[in-house]
């Protein structure tokens, strides 16, 4: 199963490589990993998307917790949460496909950030599924370049991950 794990870790050099190293050394799957400092500059917040059996995911959270740089973590998938990812996508936009792409981007609530005679750059946020669906809709042949941030996640409601 797919799990989204949110991690607070010390904003220290080497903390990221400890997490990345753990995943490669223990052979855990990693779909995406995002990290940036929080409002507290001494701490970074990481969102890891991984998949595995319940047993493996339990080990992942335990092993992450064991890392000295990890302050706190939660498996967001255990309750309701929001997941957002940002994508910048450069699309071929010529002749009749120009308007078609614009139309699809509108439907998906994408924003066109850059326009040339032959291309658009579209910005889009959403969960992974939505971004995948957009790429499918515009078609592989129209995609020149894609950059995705990887998922960021946060629990809904009162629940929070903080110290």
């Amino acid at each position: 199963m797919r799990h989204v794990i949110a991690v607070l870790l010390e904003n220290e050099s080497g903390a990221l490589s400890r997490v990345a190293g753990l995943f490669s050394a223990r052979g855990y799957n990693i779909e995406s990993l995002t990290v940036a400092p929080t409002h507290d500059p001494t701490m970074s917040r990481m969102t890891i998307v991984t998949y595995g059996t319940e047993r493996v995911v339990e080990q992942i959270t335990k092993q992450l917790n064991k890392l000295v740089d990890v302050v706190r973590l939660t498996d967001l998938t255990e309750s309701h949460f929001l997941e957002r990812e940002i994508m910048l996508i450069k699309l071929r936009a010529v002749e009749q496909s120009r308007s078609e792409i614009k139309r699809v981007a509108d439907i998906f609530r994408g924003r066109i950030l850059d326009v040339t005679e032959t291309s658009y750059i579209v910005e889009m946020t959403g969960d992974a599924e939505k971004l995948d669906a957009f790429m499918k809709s515009v078609g592989k042949d129209n995609i020149i370049e894609v950059v995705r941030s990887g998922a960021t996640g946060i629990a809904r409601g009162e629940k929070s991950l903080r110290i």
Partner: protein
């Protein structure tokens, strides 16, 4: 007080009550060596190879329970230390390894003797620190000792750029500031509800088994463990790392378990209905084929490391906490419990175990003409009255030592269980002998293993360490040869130790005493003679049976109940 980095380091080690630094100098640590030169409260032990320093500090830590301290230079000094760091990591040994690093502004420039020490050691340390400023040195050292020695212990590397130890640059030193780490809080007491549930299950068992590992030794919990076992009078087995936690000469002890454990221990594990795992981690050398592991057991698992729980074997009642504290709580509850243990069932269980014990699975063919390795260990046990600190290398000799030297006390059996590092034995013995100068320290080894750190014989001379080296010389990498015999139709690919040195002359050239023993009749007298030389290192080179195998054995893919017994026993059983 204003101090330089080098002085801060010395002061911090003093505050941590460090007796010995095991080290080897080099460019990046010269400032530190200069600070060492100008004091005499901490003794520096100069090894002959950085691997030796790590194993010596490790041996010291295993025998005393105090953290071992290592000091090496940057680059090759650090990389040479890696094997020893990994060895300590696998067995959860508290150590602080100080590595020199190039001057901070040169980091990342491929400077002379620069390696990414933090990167190289990351996967085999509990934690590591790169010191970022002179001001943070003392705090970092304090954190390093704290992390190394609390919770599940382990090695911690502190990488120190050369400029932060320079004599001219000083900063305020105050070691009294308490360690504050919001991201590190090891568990202590176990969950009371879980403990209650566990005691209930334990007392209702009909075919119980107590299985303890290195955690009981490292957690200094042997006393409460013994009390726990005796209150219940259930069968007890120890892992290779756990030997000595329960007295091996006690009837309640059914021997070591696992790949080369006893038949009775493994059969009892397989047949038990309640398994009480204490400070053990269900290593693959213990479980055999996991699918066949303790098929009928409900499992209670006490461990300080939550990640050890349900890692390879799913357990029913996990208790995360300090093993000693949890056992004490359990002991109180067993005492006060209003339920009774089903003694009739336990007696019946014991009679079944006695039948397995009757197999006498450690039997071997005695000989008048060739020295049997098991016989040497038996004599070692007799001559040292079972009271030696015994370090070991890795191979068949290690297994025979574990099987035939009956450890009655914890911290006496010192071996590399998790990583299985050949070369560990001799340097580890150095650490032990330094810690206990008046105790008997012996190193059991093989002709292959001993050559991996043989240079430390020189260290032994320098510091007058009267270690007794028991070399079971079978002219084979015996353990490798055994696997080749069983699994590769006797194709002995590169397991033959050709061109061996004359160990007696080699030892003598290092200034010690060497003895060659090739007749069974001489084993005991040679040993008497050697151990009588209280202030000499003696290398006893026992020429042993070349083709002896370690029995019994759980072969790869087999379950605990499928042990391969000594061929003679198979004849008897048939």
């Amino acid at each position: 007080m204003e101090l330089s980095g080098g002085e801060i380091l010395i002061q911090a080690l003093k505050e941590e009550e460090v007796e010995f630094i095991f080290g080897y100098p080099g460019g990046a640590v010269l400032h530190i060596y200069d600070a060492i030169y100008q004091q005499n409260s901490i003794k520096h032990i100069l090894v002959r190879h950085e691997q030796g320093a790590t194993h010596a500090a490790d041996g010291y830590a295993r025998a005393t329970g105090k953290p071992g301290v290592v000091l090496v230079t940057s680059g090759p000094g650090a990389t040479n230390a890696v094997t020893g760091i990994a060895t300590a990591f696998m067995d959860s040994i508290p150590m602080v390894i100080l590595t020199g690093q190039v001057t901070s502004r040169f980091i990342g420039s491929d400077a002379f003797q620069e390696v990414d020490c933090i990167g190289i050691t990351r996967p085999c340390v509990k934690h590591n620190f790169l010191v970022e400023s002179l001001e943070s040195l003392s705090d970092t050292l304090k954190k390093a000792f704290h992390v190394a020695t609390t919770g599940r212990p382990g090695p911690v590397v502190v990488d120190i750029p050369k400029d932060f130890t320079a004599p001219g640059v000083k900063t305020e030193f105050d070691y009294s500031v308490p360690v504050e780490m919001r991201s590190y809080s090891p568990p202590t007491t176990g969950h009371p509800g879980q403990i209650r549930k566990a005691v209930d299950l334990i007392m209702s068992a009909k075919r119980p088994m107590i299985y303890s590992g290195g955690g009981v030794v490292l957690g200094d919990a042997s006393e409460s463990f013994r009390e726990f076992c005796r209150k219940l009078s259930y069968p007890v087995t120890n892992t290779l790392m756990g030997l000595g936690a329960f007295p091996a000469t006690d009837k309640q002890f059914v021997g070591m378990l696992g790949m080369h454990g006893t038949y009775e221990a493994n059969m009892a594990m397989h047949g038990c209905d309640v398994l009480i795992a204490v400070g053990a981690r269900f290593d693959d050398r213990v479980t055999g084929e996991v699918k066949r592991f303790c098929p009928n057991a409900q499992i209670v698992h006490i461990d300080v490391d939550p990640a050890s729980i349900s890692k390879t074997v799913t357990v029913d009642i996990p208790i995360v906490g300090d093993v000693g504290q949890v056992l004490e709580a359990m002991n109180r509850q067993i005492e006060e419990a209003d339920r009774e243990i089903d003694r009739a069932a336990i007696d019946l269980w014991w009679s079944e175990i006695e039948k397995w014990r009757g197999t006498n699975c450690l039997q071997y063919d005695k000989s008048d003409s060739v020295i049997k390795p098991q016989y040497v260990v038996e004599k070692l046990y007799e001559v040292t009255k079972g009271d030696a600190y015994l370090t070991s290398d890795v191979g068949q000799h290690q297994m025979w030592a574990a099987q035939f030297y009956h450890f009655d006390k914890p911290r006496r059996w010192i071996n590399s269980g998790g990583l299985g590092t050949m070369g560990f034995g001799l340097p580890a013995a150095i650490g032990v002998q330094l810690a206990f100068p008046d105790e008997i320290v012996a190193c059991i080894t093989g002709e292959a293993s001993i050559q991996m750190c043989i240079q430390e014989l020189s260290t032994c001379l320098q510091y007058d360490l009267p270690i007794k080296i028991i070399n079971l010389n079978n002219r084979y990498m015996g353990m490798v040869r055994q696997w080749q015999e069983f699994s590769y139709e006797k194709r002995y690919s590169h397991s033959y130790m050709d061109a061996l040195p004359d160990f007696v002359r080699l030892t003598e050239s290092y200034g010690h005493v060497g003895m060659l023993i090739d007749k069974p009749g001489d084993v005991e007298s040679a040993m008497q003679e050697a151990f009588a030389m209280k202030d000499k290192l003696v290398f006893l080179d026992f020429i042993t049976d070349q083709t002896e195998n370690v029995y019994p054995m759980i072969e790869a893919g087999k379950g605990q109940d499928e042990m391969r017994l000594h061929p003679a026993q198979n004849r008897e059983l048939a």
